[in-house]
């Protein structure tokens, strides 16, 4: 490697690259979530027949992974670079490998492998088939062909490429601790994130108000269900995300027993399933506007009419 790209340079390169491959550059979604997959730009858009190609950075919060900023590789919040393409392109693997070249990673100078790793997120009713991509033994990317999202079989299939930006940058910059990464010229990752890491860990493990969190979970759930019934898909989905994050906070606090855990997850899953169905219905009502092939659109809407009879 000749140059050591900063974190932001890596992000810029990936954005440029995937935008050139036809992806829309979306922005991080403004509700807390555990992974880029949970952004509506992936979860909702992976459902239904409309094509969708998007790329974005997603700050992802996992309260239980917080380590008070002391562990060089574990974080309360890390950053994912998420690419979703539906239908999955035939050359998606090649597109991905070319993106690594853009970052100065020449496959001939490394060992890159696709190692089976089938992804599952039971609380969101999601499952997919794919790999973790190993770069010289390190997992740098999760690569998934979605099969089920929100409990619905997908058609067509979305391919999802999720880069772990901190991991990737640690490799590119050859540092042992994420806190030593250069975010921009002269500013270290630790300068920006060490304090929030400590505070969020302290909060999640020691200080959070459990009663408030439990109450919020119930309220968010009520609201999500109501808005699903009203056909207000996006507000409903925001509340499902809030439920999910609130549950993660409760879990990190050790406030959830084994059985209760299953109960909470199943409540979130039920909402995820309901909102998935509601989303498709709403898109149908709008005539699947993202389908540019008029014949296909007419056919899909006609199929819908058939199904109603």
């Amino acid at each position: 490697m000749t140059e050591k790209l900063s974190m932001q340079a890596i992000i810029l390169k990936l954005q440029q690259y995937w935008s050139a491959q036809g992806c829309m550059l979306m922005q991080a979604y403004d509700t807390e979530k555990g992974a880029g997959t949970m952004s509506p730009y992936t979860f909702l858009r992976a459902i239904g027949p409309e094509p969708w190609n998007a790329a974005y950075v997603e700050p992802s919060r996992r309260p239980a992974d917080g380590r008070y900023g002391e562990n060089p590789n574990r974080l309360y919040q890390h950053h994912q670079f998420q690419v979703v393409m539906k239908p999955s392109p035939d050359n998606i693997q090649e597109l991905y490998l070319n993106s690594l070249k853009e970052l100065g990673i020449n496959p001939l100078e490394h060992d890159i492998r696709f190692v089976e790793d089938n992804w599952e997120n039971p609380s969101m009713g999601c499952a997919g088939v794919g790999w973790e991509v190993w770069l010289d033994g390190m997992e740098i990317t999760q690569f998934t062909y979605f099969q089920v999202v929100g409990g619905m079989a997908v058609d067509p299939v979305t391919s999802e490429v999720t880069y772990g930006l901190e991991r990737l940058a640690s490799y590119v910059q050859d540092v042992n601790s994420v806190f030593d990464l250069e975010w921009a010229d002269g500013v270290k990752y630790g300068d920006i994130f060490k304090e929030p890491e400590y505070e969020h860990s302290k909060y999640s493990f020691e200080e959070s108000n459990q009663d408030m969190l439990l109450r919020h979970f119930n309220e968010y759930e009520d609201e999500a269900k109501k808005q699903i019934a009203n056909g207000l898909v996006h507000p409903a989905y925001d509340y499902i995300l809030k439920c999910s994050h609130t549950f993660n906070l409760l879990d990190a606090r050790g406030a959830v027993s084994v059985t209760e855990r299953a109960g909470y997850l199943s409540r979130i899953r039920n909402m995820a399933r309901a909102v998935a169905r509601a989303f498709v219905n709403e898109r149908k009502k709008r005539g699947f506007p993202l389908i540019k092939d008029e014949a296909l659109r007419t056919k899909l809407l006609a199929d819908d009419e058939e199904a109603k009879k």
């Binding site: 999955s88 496959p107 490394h110 890159i112 492998r113 696709f114 033994g137 058609d155 299939v157 084994v258």
Partner: protein
């Protein structure tokens, strides 16, 4: 002339564990298809890599074998009218065979004449048959299937290209939007796409593109590369077959390389280092001549040796990060005492409907106490087992087991030793999980075996009592495996454990120690015995024991696992005796008559004053001898039962059991019931099939 055919299915990277079964499946399906299609060939050679499944068929015939067969039609009287003209039925039949009535001959079958035609089917050219392989490719099944793009078809991974070449010609067919051709892909990074001129060139063409398509050759190469590195460095490397198979199916062009890690990590227990290397990174680990683990590893790159130092450095870095984590946990974990961890188990759930982990340990301690007494363990063994039962789950709340769950028990032993526990206690902690799989290692130490039994008995009893009984394929808590563990440990240790009595004693001991769960365990004892006996049946069946013997012994009145196995061995060893049939038939007659005894006779005793003939006295004496033998060993019991066969025969000769006189009849039934109960200690002999 003989032909060569090549079929290559090009795929995105398959899971490593799928590759070998998949290529075997493809070969078998192809062989079956060619046989069914009457196509002769010499050999099907398999090739497989993560990205391709291929077969090369050599010595292929030009065409299918021709078929000449005689086809039967309608009876002559239906085929011809009174004037001898062909009827519609005859004309229709011949048309159906692609012939005309001119081709008809008659043959007589059982006095009736029938229409026959000789049909000849010329074999199709082999190219036409090979096009049918499309269905073979699409019929393949895999453990996980997926869809991609806009297709509804499911396969192991997306199909990206297909090569189908009969000698130099493409056999045309399409699967989804992929059409067969002669273009294959080389190694992802080192190779390029290449056109294969003729089917026979396949292996050489791919080798030129940095793909070793022959899986066996690739595996042998990896093995020799690893061995060379080991020899050059004076390392001893045991090549784990499973790992070699996996690594082989992760690469197309292997280059083994050595890496190292800082010696300071060698203070971490070896099991942790090995788990990190072998299971997490797919590395082979190295030892020195004395068997000491070295700070080195061997891994295999999917590529050549160009810039290999980058790959070495990257892999070393990843391993170091893992070991740094492990080192952190290992140091941190030792800062707390075992008592601290045990205290934390009070807030760890064993199962929400049962109890905490700490409460489970309390119950297991009570059970260990009962077992120690029953098995007459010496003081040292008893103390070790009891101490272990007080702490044996503590490692579950250590950081190391939190990170490396597969090391539960193993870390328990390490930390217990570091904390100064008796080595026997530490060993029992590790061994209590055993057997980890159906055929896994068993505890070697007595305290370990006792703790393992107690832990498993408690799990099964409490889960049953909480209503979580395995059914069908639903056994989320692996209770079947635990029951098999009980059976295997007991037979390995040759321990006699009557479960019925002991389970009651466990429950009493738990109540006495005030550690009983809020569950009705007593009501589940019979169900648990049945559950354990089902496992015994399974084990005996896989040991190829006779089915009737299995049925007999598992229906015995005994709940003692060891006795049931012994009974099976005894019956099997006598099954070929000359008198076996006579013995079993006599006893079966006794058992069936005994079933006629009214329930109130269960506690009755035999009144010798009511005897009416000598044979009754003889049988009474014989039954007493059987009863004495029954208190010795099962072998003695069988011998005694066999000995009284003539006595029983004489008895039935001289005695009408179902006498009209109530008192006489009941007295005789009491005698037979007593004998029948004794036979039941061996098994339900009524189940035995004697011819």
């Amino acid at each position: 002339m003989a032909h060569t055919f090549l079929l290559e299915i090009g795929l995105e990277e398959m899971p490593a564990h799928v590759v070998t079964p998949a290529i075997k499946q493809l070969v078998k399906r192809t062989a079956d298809y060619l046989k069914e299609q009457r196509v002769a060939y010499d050999d099907i050679k398999p090739f497989s890599t993560p990205r391709r499944l291929a077969i090369q068929i050599s010595g292929l015939a030009d065409k299918q074998e021709d078929i000449s067969e005689s086809v039967k039609g309608p009876a002559k009287k239906i085929a011809q009218d009174a004037d001898g003209n062909w009827t519609k039925a005859a004309i229709g039949f011949t048309r159906g065979q692609g012939l005309t009535p001119d081709d008809i001959t008659f043959k007589e079958i059982k006095g009736t004449e029938y229409v026959y035609v000789d049909k000849f089917i010329a074999g199709e050219p082999v190219a036409a048959v090979l096009a049918g392989l499309k269905d073979i490719v699409t019929a393949m099944t895999f453990p996980t299937m997926m869809k991609w793009g806009t297709h509804h078809f499911e396969y192991i991974r997306p199909i990206r290209w297909i090569v189908a070449l009969l000698d130099a010609d493409v056999i045309p067919f399409s699967i989804l939007d992929v059409t067969t051709g002669r273009n294959t892909r080389g190694h992802r990074f080192l190779g390029t796409d290449v056109d294969i001129a003729t089917a026979a060139d396949y292996e050489a063409d791919l080798t030129a593109q940095f793909v070793i398509a022959d899986a066996d050759k690739r595996k042998a190469l990896i093995k020799s590369q690893i061995e060379k590195i080991a020899t050059d460095n004076n390392w001893t490397v045991t090549i784990d077959g499973g790992l070699l198979e996996e690594v082989n199916n992760l690469v197309e062009w292997p280059t083994a390389f050595a890496g190292s890690f800082d010696e300071k990590y060698l203070t971490i227990p070896e099991e942790v280092l090995i788990t990190s290397m072998r299971d997490h990174q797919r590395f082979f680990y190295a030892r020195n001549a004395e068997g000491k683990l070295l700070p080195n590893f061997i891994s295999v790159r999917n590529g050549n040796d160009h810039d290999l130092q980058n790959v070495v450095a990257g892999n070393e870095k990843v391993l170091t990060a893992r070991l740094e984590d492990a080192m952190f946990f290992y140091t941190e974990d030792q800062k707390k005492s075992i008592a601290d961890y045990v205290e934390r188990l009070k807030s760890v759930s064993f199962h929400d409907k049962i109890s905490t982990m700490a409460e489970k340990m309390d119950r297991v301690k009570a059970i260990v106490g009962v077992l120690a007494k029953h098995l007459h363990l010496n003081d040292t063994q008893t103390q070790a087992a009891l101490r272990a039962s007080e702490i044996y789950k503590f490692d579950l709340v250590t950081g190391m087991v939190g990170e490396f769950a597969e090391l539960q028990g193993v870390m328990g032993e390490k930390y217990a030793l570091l904390a100064g526990e008796d080595p026997a206690v530490a060993q029992a902690i590790r061994e209590h999980y055993e057997p980890i799989s159906a055929n896994g290692d068993l505890p070697e130490s007595v305290p370990g075996a006792v703790l393992a039994l107690a832990d498993k008995f408690d799990s099964i009893l409490t889960f049953f009592a909480a209503g979580m009984i395995p059914s069908g394929s639903n056994d989320p808590y692996a209770l079947r495996r635990q029951a098999i563990g009980i059976v295997r440990i007991v037979t390995d240790q040759q321990w006699s454990l009557p479960i019925a009595d002991l389970a009651q004693a466990f429950i009493t001991a738990e109540a006495d120690a005030k550690v009983a769960p809020q569950l009705d365990q007593a009501s589940q004892i019979d169900a648990v015995i049945g559950f354990v006996k089902d496992r015994i049946r399974k084990i005996l069946r896989s040991a190829k024991q006779r089915h009737d013997i299995i049925d007999a012994v598992t229906n015995s009145s005994s709940s003692d696992v060891l006795r049931i196995f012994t009974a099976a061995d005894i019956l099997a060893s006598h099954a070929d005796d000359a008198n076996f049939k006579a013995v079993i038939e006599s006893l079966t007659r006794v058992i069936r008559l005994a079933q006629k005894a009214p329930a109130e006779l269960a506690t009755a005793t035999v009144d010798t004053d009511l005897f009416e003939n000598d044979s009754e006295g003889a049988l009474h004496q014989g039954v007493a001898e059987v009863a004495t033998a029954a208190d010795k060993t099962l072998a003695d019991l069988y011998a005694a039962l066999a000995d009284i066969q003539p006595t029983i025969a004489a008895y039935f000769e001289a005695t009408m059991v179902m006498d009209k006189n109530d008192a006489v009849r009941n007295n005789r039934l009491t005698e037979l019931s007593g004998l029948a109960r004794l036979t039941l200690k061996l098994g339900d002999l009524d189940q035995l099939i004697v011819k």
